[in-house]
């Protein structure tokens, strides 16, 4: 059944967009329906494409659906899960504890995940050196103000 998720999703998003378009506030300037046309058009494209896609998947139902097998194999689920968690932590910490420390934590996390615990010296060196270099390059050379 997993093969029908994407086509159904695109139909659902299309319908939601269509409803959203029709409930947009009317414009007081120019054509009152002006803001609605384009989103409604996109919604119709989404719904129609979704229907055709659904039909194609239905026709291909005998063929094994392999698009997602890759993310279920080996360490892939762990890599993706840990990456997601690290990215969320990075988002939360970035402005709270500042660029330098949050970036070191983020890089350490990713490097330990991919590189393993045995290469801890490399991991720590890479994380610290590159965080400091980037901090300097952006903050001083490119004059971007980082937290």
């Amino acid at each position: 059944m997993i093969r029908y998720i994407t086509p159904l999703l695109s139909i659902v998003v299309g319908i939601a967009l269509l409803i959203g378009a029709f409930t947009l506030p009317k414009s007081t300037l120019g054509n009152p329906n002006g803001p609605m046309y384009f989103p409604a058009l996109i919604a119709i494209i989404l719904i129609l494409s979704g229907l055709v896609y659904l039909f194609q998947e239905f026709k291909a139902r005998g063929v094994k659906f392999t698009d997602f097998t890759q993310i279920r194999l080996g360490k892939s689920p762990m890599y993706l899960g840990v990456s997601l968690v690290l990215m969320i932590i990075y988002t939360i910490l970035f402005e709270r504890i500042g660029f330098l420390f949050s970036t070191i934590i983020f890089l350490l996390g990713l490097l330990f995940m991919l590189n393993g615990r045995k290469k801890w010296i490399t991991n720590i060196l890479v994380a610290v050196i590159f965080s400091v270099v980037t901090w300097y390059a952006f903050g001083t050379l490119l004059q971007v103000s980082l937290p």
């Binding site: 896609y53 993706l80 890089l107 590189n115 952006f138 490119l142």
Partner: protein, 504 residues
């Protein structure tokens, strides 16, 4: 030609000023390094390095981004030849004969040939650019909102149609892109659309965040899935320069395929990937010994390399002259230079001719520089390939986040970045083409404005379509481009049917 030679010459002199030479060198080098990473191509390289261009003047920024673009193309060929892992679509054809050459101990010669072919292809295309760009810009001056709207429709439909065998997925990808572009305050009426009450979203979703999310975070996540797979064995480089015999065999294929690649590059939708594939099969068909193709035939490497570089140069023409990018990579560049306050389009050639010609000449200089870099520093570049991806991918991830932060100084964008990173990952897994989405995000807002402006002077869609000879031509081209995949499939079926009848 309609172009004053003096302007061209002035542009050349500006391009070789030390400041600009530095950007060419830096962009070329960084592009080569990112392009060499398996799975990452020019669009990723540019998306990642956008923050560097902030605060630069637009001309230098454009020069830098173009240099990153070619650099990444050269880099992509490096990993194709040495590791059999192409960085992106346009480097695939280089694996067909480049990797077999490397296996025969001719890696150095293959690298040199690829660099030389790219240089000549690029130079042919620069000449084409000088001839074609100005007339096209003059032609585009006649375009009104209806023409622009339909030109965008045509460009999008061409790029959707070329999403091989997956047109429906192309349409969905495009629709998502257009949908993203409608979020925020409507420019004509001030109505808030789909902002979900977030003040941050009222300014719209920054398309550069979407691009970095899909091209950088998404690609890196995708590469995590295969990170433990052993890569192809790397052979020693061997002789660094091509032989006379190899040059004799490749000379004409290089010269022939430059113009082919250029024309394909100018067309919307098609790009380096299609140009190089087409050139490869074309050379194989007219070759006297097609059986050598795939076994390390040097012309099988030279032809696509010349062609894809020419296509890269050609792709800049519609972007600069009409403001409509024809490929994912040029769409990213367009997005970045619009951020810097530059408005590409026909008026660019009127108002900033010095800038345009400086840029064109920088492509000339940049290609030369890359050949020198790639041949002289081949040893160093091969060493970079040895750096484990396990260390490089986390660093790329970090750059993606910093780049995003510099766009809006807000961590709300991080959430958007993460979402689109996963969108990009799932699109890759489900084999959805990415280019229609990127293109749609970039042109979406302009497309809508032009659509509604043309509705003011024309009553309905039929009125827009028949507004002028140009709009009628664009409508016909759109129909042809959408019908083409069906037509070619039907012709193939017929051909197959015939041959099977004959064999009976």
């Amino acid at each position: 030609m309609g172009t004053d030679m003096q302007v061209v010459l002035d542009g050349f002199l500006t391009a070789i000023q030390p400041g600009n030479l530095f950007w060419i060198a830096l962009g070329g080098f960084l592009g080569t390094v990112v392009g060499m990473l398996p799975g990452l191509g020019p669009a990723t390289a540019i998306a990642l390095l956008i923050p560097i261009t902030f605060g630069m003047d637009p001309t230098s920024a454009l020069i830098l981004m173009a240099a990153i673009y070619y650099g990444a193309m050269y880099g992509g060929s490096r990993s194709s030849i040495l590791l059999n892992t192409p960085g992106d679509g346009s480097a695939i054809a280089a694996t067909f004969d480049g990797y077999p050459m490397a296996q025969k101990g001719q890696a150095g010669q293959a690298l040199a040939m690829s660099a030389i072919a790219s240089l000549i292809g690029g130079l042919i295309a620069v000449v084409g650019f000088i001839v074609l760009a100005k007339p096209l810009a003059n032609f585009a001056l006649k375009f009104g909102p209806a023409e622009y709207f339909l030109l965008m429709v045509f460009t999008l439909s061409a790029i959707v149609a070329l999403a091989k065998g997956a047109m429906v997925k192309g349409f969905i990808s495009m629709a998502i892109g257009l949908m993203i572009s409608t979020v925020g305050i409507d420019l004509q009426t001030g109505v808030y659309r789909f902002t979900m009450g977030s003040p941050h979203l009222s300014e719209g979703i920054d398309f550069l965040v979407v691009i970095i999310g899909i091209y950088a975070v998404g690609e890196v996540l995708y590469n995590f899935l295969t990170i433990n797979k052993p890569v192809g064995e790397k052979k020693s480089v061997g002789k660094k320069w091509i032989t006379k015999e190899q040059w004799k065999r490749s000379k004409w294929p290089i010269i022939r395929n430059g113009p082919i690649g250029f024309v394909i590059g100018v067309l919307p939708g098609a790009g380096g990937a299609i140009a190089s594939m087409l050139s490869y099969s074309f050379e194989k068909q007219i070759s006297k010994h097609p059986e050598e193709f795939g076994e390390g035939a040097v012309e099988g490497l030279a032809a696509p390399e010349s062609s894809n570089n020419a296509a890269a140069v050609g792709a800049f023409i519609p972007m600069l002259a009409m403001g409509i990018p024809g490929s994912g990579t040029t769409a990213v560049i367009l997005g970045a230079i619009v951020m810097l306050g530059l408005k590409p389009g026909p008026l660019l050639f009127e108002n900033n001719p010095d800038m345009v010609w400086t840029f064109i000449n920088s492509m000339f200089v940049g290609n030369l520089f890359l050949v020198i870099l790639n041949i002289a520093l081949v040893g160093l570049l091969v060493k970079i390939l040895d750096t484990p991806p396990r260390i490089l991918y986390p660093l790329i991830m970090m750059l993606a986040f910093i780049g995003t932060y510099t766009l809006g100084y807000s961590t709300v964008d991080f959430i958007i970045l993460i979402i689109f990173g996963f969108v990009g990952l799932f699109m890759k897994l489900l084999k959805f083409p990415v280019a229609p989405l990127i293109l749609a995000v970039i042109v979406g807002s302009d497309m809508e404005q032009n659509f509604r402006m043309s509705l003011i002077s024309h009553p309905d869609i039929i009125g827009i379509a028949t507004a002028s000879p140009i709009t009628i031509a664009l409508v016909i081209m759109t129909i042809i481009s959408l019908g083409f995949p069906f037509l070619s499939a039907w012709l193939m079926d017929r051909k197959k049917g015939k041959t099977s009848e004959e064999s009976m």
